[in-house]
């Protein structure tokens, strides 16, 4: 059996016995800086803009809904099932389809939509990152297939960075089969190192902080 064969070779190479406990691991290294909420938003926006992403800030969920309505201007969009989007009134906009729970139907809708609208579970200020955990509220494909990704994020979700995320969420696998960090629009530089945005994922990303 390959399994036993390989594990046996590993143990022989290391001089270890079956079931021998490991040596003590070096302690995990997490450094979380002090940063007030305003500074987090400022840094978060600054990093997204560096990556050619767009940002805006609104005072209320209703305002976020109005802004999304203006942005999509009646063009086809798919919104996730996040309760926050409903609260913003986004799910009831005329060209927005939502409430998908079948993968096939969702995929077909996303493939022809011009906008994918999601919330985010967290955001990371120091890299301009959205953190998306796959769930009944957030499907994976909405932030991936349409050419434009709109994300509406409550300001309380903004963490300082990766270290704070992993300190608060040491076991992402306990919550979802998929945690994706999204940092700017999809891009490539594979041909002559020339930057092109929108390869397989969205070429545009717009983050609205409420």
């Amino acid at each position: 059996m390959p399994r036993e064969h390989i594990l046996h070779k590993v143990r022989t190479a290391l001089g270890r016995r079956v079931g021998q406990p490991p040596a003590t691991a070096p302690p995990a290294r997490l450094r979380i800086p002090e940063m007030d909420p305003e500074a987090r938003i400022a840094r978060f926006f600054q990093e997204i803009q560096k990556l050619a992403g767009r940002t805006s800030r609104v005072g209320s969920p209703a305002e976020a809904g109005a802004q999304v309505e203006a942005l999509i201007a009646g063009r086809p969009a798919v919104a996730s099932n996040a309760a926050f989007l409903r609260q913003c009134g986004i799910t009831s906009l005329p060209s927005v389809r939502t409430d998908f729970n079948d993968a096939g139907e969702l995929c077909a809708a996303c493939a022809s939509a011009e906008f994918g609208i999601t919330s985010a579970d967290y955001a990371l200020a120091d890299t301009g990152t959205l953190v998306m955990l796959s769930s009944l509220q957030e499907a994976r494909l909405i932030s991936l297939l349409p050419p434009v990704h709109l994300a509406i994020v409550p300001h309380g979700k903004i963490l300082t960075g990766l270290d704070e995320l992993l300190a608060g969420l040491p076991q992402p696998a306990g919550h979802s089969s998929s945690m994706v960090l999204i940092t700017g629009p999809s891009r490539t530089a594979d041909i002559e190192q020339i930057l092109v945005r929108g390869v397989h994922g969205p070429g545009e990303i717009h983050v609205i902080v409420v």
Partner: protein, 479 residues
């Protein structure tokens, strides 16, 4: 080095377009990296490197424990681990899986591990259609080539090459703007994603305490490969394990910066098993193939075990004066540059391409930029010594060994050394105007002397030797 390699390398050196492409791309990658690891951008960069080195060392020293932990945590979330001793076993597993699930089309994201085992060829022999989805990797697949660089596979292709390739292979109009070329690839590959049955990826990290596969990328092709098809199969070397999800706070900060100069790549996927009951999309089946293919042999070598710490960022390639001249296709195996020079002999045996560890100036730039602090120059020296020992056992290089024995003897006898110096100065043929000796007279220019001078020049001998100067100085001081 045999003649075939020499000829290929000379071709690369004589190709001005290729030379400037390699030089420009590696230069740009160096430049991007430099800014994001600078002290003002990342004050604890050196600490992170040290921590990354320690974690890799600890994990590999307890690897059996972490492999079993990974396996049971993945199983708890409905995924399955499969062990494979070599590429043949990986292909057999995938072919059998495809047969059972009636799968025909496989989409792939870029993976050096699957390049290493030539998985695409193997699967095609099993009558599966295999499509690479990273843009650069797709280009080299269409061209029937190997990746030129660990992170930039099509670094050697111009947009004109790509235009010609796309129009020939895809039947599209001749299009030379990278933006339009990207759109063409997007359209073709989008259809493949939506029709594919199986998505195959490598792994940047395997997280033991989560049973998770971590993948970094910029294009979104990894996300599609791991989301759209109903089956996701990861193929990864056993050395990719890290103990905890929290260790990503160290490794992700180093990987993107070292590879492309990004604090984080556009997408980082942390995947732990198939779609769960409450989730809407994602694969229904999730397998991780853990590959040995020689890794346990490296693991057994305490001194060179650190070769397995590599996280495949490609920084050592960009900084290597040898890679920057000879490019990525003149190394004997899929792994090029300094990391290729140390792992190739260990995987394939030191006797196969004995010249490889010698193709380095030992300048040390690779060790300086390595995010996990692999001492590449030290490992090159050890491999050189192994090559020489193997050659001595096989009775090769008798002349060279005799030469060095004589040299060692001369060095231990100062008077003879000095005498030979004087003789040398007297008979030394006239060099160029600079005084450098570029070769020997035609009569002697043969055999080992010719080979020796083909790679080396001799500096001019000074009018007076060091000993003569020293003695004169001693006399002055006495007086």
């Amino acid at each position: 080095m045999n003649g075939a390699y020499q000829q290929k390398i000379h071709q690369t050196l004589a190709d001005p377009r290729l030379q400037s492409a390699i030089y420009a791309a590696s230069g740009r990658l160096m430049d991007h990296r430099k800014h994001v690891v600078a002290a003002d951008a990342l004050p604890d960069y050196q600490e992170l490197r040290t921590q990354a080195h320690r974690i890799k060392q600890h994990t590999l020293e307890n690897l059996d424990h972490y492999l079993e932990q990974f396996e049971s945590n993945l199983a708890a979330h409905g995924g399955q681990v499969v062990y494979a001793r070599d590429g043949g076993e990986v292909a057999d597993f995938l072919a059998e899986l495809a047969r059972q699930k009636q799968a025909r089309l496989v989409v792939k994201s870029k993976s050096m591990t699957t390049e290493e085992i030539e998985l695409n060829d193997r699967l095609e022999r099993h009558n599966l259609e295999v499509v690479e989805t990273d843009l650069g990797e797709y280009i080299v697949q269409l061209a029937g080539e190997r990746p030129y660089h660990i992170v930039a596979p099509a670094l050697h292709k111009t947009r004109y090459d790509v235009a010609e390739l796309f129009s020939r292979r895809l039947g599209v109009a001749h299009e030379t703007a990278p933006e339009k070329q990207t759109k063409i690839a997007r359209a073709v590959l989008r259809q493949k994603f939506l029709a594919a049955d199986i998505g195959v990826t490598g792994a940047n990290f395997l997280v033991a305490d989560s049973g998770a596969v971590v993948l970094v990328e910029n294009e979104g092709n990894v996300r599609l490969t791991t989301t759209a098809p109903r089956i996701h199969v990861t193929v990864a070397g056993i050395e990719k394990i890290i103990p905890r999800a929290q260790d990503l706070a160290v490794f992700l900060k180093l990987l993107g910066r070292s590879a492309t100069g990004q604090p984080l790549t556009v997408y980082t996927s942390f995947l732990s098993g198939p779609r769960r009951v409450q989730e809407i999309d994602g694969p229904l089946e999730f397998y991780v193939v853990l590959l040995d293919n020689g890794r346990t042999r490296l693991l057994a070598d305490r001194d060179k075990r650190q070769s397995l710490y590599c996280i495949r960022c490609g920084a050592c390639l960009n900084y290597c004066p040898v890679y920057r001249k000879i490019g990525g296709h003149n190394y004997p195996w899929v792994y090029s540059g300094p990391i290729g020079a140390i792992i190739t002999p260990q995987y394939l045996g030191v006797s196969r391409d004995p010249w490889l560890p010698f193709a380095s100036s030992l300048c040390g730039a690779c060790a300086e930029v390595c995010p996990v602090k692999i001492d590449i120059p030290e490992l090159l020296l050890e491999l050189r010594s192994e090559v020489k020992k193997a050659q001595a056992r096989e009775g090769q290089d008798r002349l060279e060994r005799l030469g060095f024995r004589i040299w060692a003897w001369v060095m231990r006898h100062p008077r003879i050394y000095e005498m030979l110096g004087l003789v040398g100065a007297a008979v030394m043929p006239e060099g160029e105007s600079s005084g450098w000796l570029r070769g020997v007279p035609a009569l002697l220019n043969r055999g080992p002397l010719r080979a020796w001078f083909s790679q080396r020049d001799l500096p001019p001998l000074p009018a007076r030797s060091f000993r003569q100067v020293w003695r004169a100085r001693a006399r002055v001081v006495q007086d």
